[in-house]
């Protein structure tokens, strides 16, 4: 088959798989309108490593430091070294040799904290990101000159440029050529494309495979509760209840404390399960009086026994002619919740 014919076959296959790439349905041209130049300029703020998209301007290290201390230091630290909120941007561990080779040697050392400046190969990235997304709580409030200054200050903290350095659109390229890890990136992997070639492959062995079955790592006992009580993170009525990883608490104390806290909150599950909601609503008469009216009338613990009796045994004549039937289906826990809530109003 000629290469032309092969191309045709591929083209036809592509047509079957992705029909939209070849023909637009009639009338679709009416959807969408041309973007104006102003609109594109307002949104297309990205800056590529070849500096396509970089606005003109400049800023020096000192100007950058001033903005940094006012707008950046609270998260990143005065010297970009804070590990409080985000990982450190720069730690002063870039060497002259790193800058000369464009490879940060300490990246092979597990004991060295990886900073942004140790990783990022392209200066355009710092400029683009600060301009589009910083500061944290007021993105896109910095002018291009301010961003030039901030990038200059960061580079100065990493010993990439001197104290009197002025960064501008005209020297971005030569400054990028000093980035400490500019040669540290690899595209030699199979993870960019769906058809990429994997670098690792598992074994197909199915019987008597030669593998080590020793436990090399597991969570120490003290860390089992670091993510909270696991018993409360699974379907607790299912076939696999969670492990109780919290130090044991006295169930009665917990229940009493939570009952007091929750008294003011309507126990909706109890009201529903007990059948109360069929006749009572929060405010206003339904079949029976509204809960708000009941709570106003019986505010105070001294009414608890009376209210309990009315729920269990029913009653009539207090709120009108419609009798309240006995509600034996209310279980004890729900009954306590409801009584506590109904009597917890302001006296």
């Amino acid at each position: 088959m000629s290469s032309w014919a092969k191309a045709l076959v591929l083209w036809l296959c592509a047509m079957v798989m992705t029909p939209w790439t070849l023909a637009l349905p009639e009338g679709l041209d009416d959807l969408g309108r041309p973007a104006t130049e102003g609109e594109v300029a307002a949104w297309d703020i990205d800056v590529r490593p070849d500096f396509v998209g970089l606005p003109p301007g400049s800023g020096d290290v000192w100007a950058g430091e001033e903005i940094w201390l006012a707008q950046c230091a609270s998260c990143h630290g005065d010297f970009g070294d804070s590990n409080e909120i985000f990982a450190p941007l720069v730690l002063g561990n870039i060497t002259e040799d790193d800058i000369a080779t464009g490879r940060v040697a300490s990246l092979t050392d597990p004991g060295v904290t990886r900073t942004t400046l140790m990783k990022v190969p392209t200066l355009s990235t710092l400029w683009d990101y600060i301009y589009r997304a910083m500061p944290w709580n007021a993105p896109k409030s910095l002018s291009p000159d301010e961003v030039y200054g901030l990038v200059a200050y960061l580079l100065n903290l990493g010993y990439v440029v001197d104290d009197d350095f002025v960064l501008s659109d005209t020297n971005m390229a030569e400054t990028q050529a000093r980035m400490p890890n500019r040669n540290g990136m690899s595209l030699d992997h199979g993870l960019w494309s769906v058809s990429g070639v994997p670098d690792v492959s598992g074994s197909a062995c199915t019987t008597d495979c030669n593998v080590l079955v020793n436990v090399a790592s597991s969570l120490p006992a003290y860390a089992m509760n670091a993510h909270g009580n696991l018993a409360e993170q699974v379907r607790d009525w299912g076939p696999y209840p969670g492990l109780w990883t919290e130090p044991a608490a006295e169930p009665e104390q917990v229940a009493a404390a939570s009952a007091a806290v929750e008294a003011a909150v309507a126990p909706e599950a109890a009201l529903t399960a007990g059948g109360c909601s069929g006749c009572h609503q929060m405010a206003g008469q339904l079949v029976g009086p509204g809960f708000a009216a009941i709570r106003a009338k019986y505010a105070g613990q001294e009414h608890a026994a009376y209210v309990r009796d009315k729920i269990v045994n029913g009653g009539a004549g207090v709120w009108g002619s419609m009798p309240m039937p006995p509600m034996p289906a209310v279980d004890e826990e729900a009954l306590q919740q409801i009584v506590a809530w109904l009597t917890s109003g302001e006296e």
Binding site: L24, R33, L107, A133, Q233, P239, Y240, A273
Partner: protein, 445 residues
């Protein structure tokens, strides 16, 4: 918490309303006046909650004593205009890993995989990863711009996008950092934290290829796309154009409704098989280009550190991976007998072809049953029958995808990539079942 563990189990029903110490007291000393009144109190309390006849020893009180919901009026329609899960499912929620991040705006919440079924993640349980917080966008004021190497830069309103020809497809969405905490050693207790940056939905939207065709993109020069969000971070990622033309969507629908705000309402990019960070949320712009952009999240983050100190850049594809979701870490088997080992398998390169399960740490494997439909770049649910007889067991699963790729063991993966790359950990997971039935996250070596 034995009482929790035993909830729902059928218990024999002796005179359970009598306190144990009272029974012992009586059997030792007989009944006196004080005890008689105590007994009467206990009987009264028991009968008050029991309308049904007295229980016989073999009767299940939950059957014989009709429960309140069988003897009461139920709730009206529209009690919840937007339906909510049962209150008994309150444990099944997204959760943060304490200490993982120090700001909740640039953070992660994990999907509770341990208690989900099938191949779709409920939208409210879809994991979250935000870089600068999530936003509520007014769809009337949202626009999608397409610019760069196109004949005409275009602007679309949401109304126009919803008028265009649409497709609905089921795909998984996995963060590139999923299982990233586990490269060096076991760090988290449950599958929610080890694998919960994984979700799957039916997404509805307009094929990217259609939109690019409409804008007249430059087929000769174009190799990449830039996707950009409308949130404060305006997050950007470089997308492989060739792959995007195959199956990427500009999506507004998720599981039959509009996207949730946390998942990009009203518009997000769907890049099947590719890590989550590329599925830009609150999508406002696609730019067609001829060179990658080296954005923050492809030079400083989402780069994979190799043992020689180089970082792999533009790593995107999520290779084949599987995990047993039940039984899994932090759970407990209450009794011996039959169990349905179940889990999820997926591949960013195609379909799940085969899943095998081992209960002895990888020495012996047998084929799991795959549940259909098996779709490309989607989650596939698997099952494997298992009778547990109280022995220690090491549960593992291993997927083979439609390219023939076999999921590696941790040892096989670490041998090539070391332990510091953070991203793209697709190693087999091991759950150790102890003789006590407790299930723990372990790594073998």
């Amino acid at each position: 918490m034995a009482s929790d563990a035993e909830q729902g189990q059928l218990q024999p029903a002796p005179e359970s309303f009598l306190p144990k110490d009272l029974v012992e007291d009586i059997s030792r000393d007989g009944i006196n006046a004080g005890r008689r009144s105590l007994l009467q109190g206990a009987f009264a309390a028991a009968t008050a909650s029991m309308v049904a006849p007295a229980l016989m020893a073999d009767d299940d009180p939950d059957i014989v004593n009709l429960p309140s919901w069988t003897r009461s009026l139920g709730k009206p329609v529209v009690a919840n205009p937007y339906g909510q899960p049962s209150p008994f499912e309150a444990n099944i929620v997204r959760r943060q890993s304490p200490g993982l991040t120090r700001t909740d705006q640039s953070s992660v919440s994990f999907t509770p995989l341990q208690n989900l079924f099938g191949m779709i993640t409920p939208s409210g349980l879809h994991f979250e990863r935000h870089h600068q917080g999530w936003v509520d966008i007014d769809p009337r004021r949202h626009r999608l711009m397409i610019n760069g190497l196109v004949e005409t830069p275009l602007v679309f309103t949401m109304e126009e996008l919803l008028r265009m020809p649409s497709v609905s497809r089921i795909h998984f969405l996995e963060c590139g950092a999923n299982t990233g905490l586990e490269w060096g050693n076991v760090a988290v207790p449950t599958v929610q934290y080890s694998h919960g940056m994984l979700s799957a939905s039916e997404f509805t939207g307009v094929p990217v290829s259609l939109l690019l065709e409409r804008a007249g993109f430059d087929r000769k020069r174009a190799t990449v796309l830039l996707a950009e969000g409308a949130d404060g971070s305006s997050m950007t990622r470089t997308i492989n154009l060739e792959n995007a033309l195959d199956d990427a969507l500009v999506a507004y629908g998720q599981n039959g409704e509009m996207l949730r705000p946390e998942n990009g309402y009203p518009l997000r990019l769907v890049v099947p098989g590719v890590q989550g960070v590329s599925w830009v949320k609150w999508l406002r712009r696609l730019e067609v280009g001829d060179a990658p952009w080296a954005t923050k999240d492809e030079v400083a983050h989402y780069v994979d550190l190799m043992p020689d100190g180089t970082h792999r850049q533009y790593t995107s594809i999520q290779e084949a991976k599987s995990v047993i979701t039940a039984p899994s870490g932090g759970q407990k088997l209450l009794k011996q007998g039959y169990y349905d080992i179940t889990g999820l398998a997926w591949s960013g390169r195609g379909n799940v072809e085969k899943v095998e399960v081992s209960v002895d740490g990888g020495r012996n494997w047998r084929a799991a049953r795959l549940e259909g439909p098996i779709l490309p770049k989607a989650l596939t649910r698997f099952h494997c029958d298992w009778v547990w007889q109280g022995e220690e067991a090491m549960l593992q699963s291993r997927v083979t995808d439609s390219t023939g790729y076999i999921q590696p063991s941790r040892a096989e993966l670490v041998q090539v990539r070391g332990t510091r790359s953070i991203y793209h950990n697709n190693a087999m997971q091991t759950w150790r079942v102890g003789a006590d039935g407790e299930v723990h996250n372990v790594q073998l070596g």
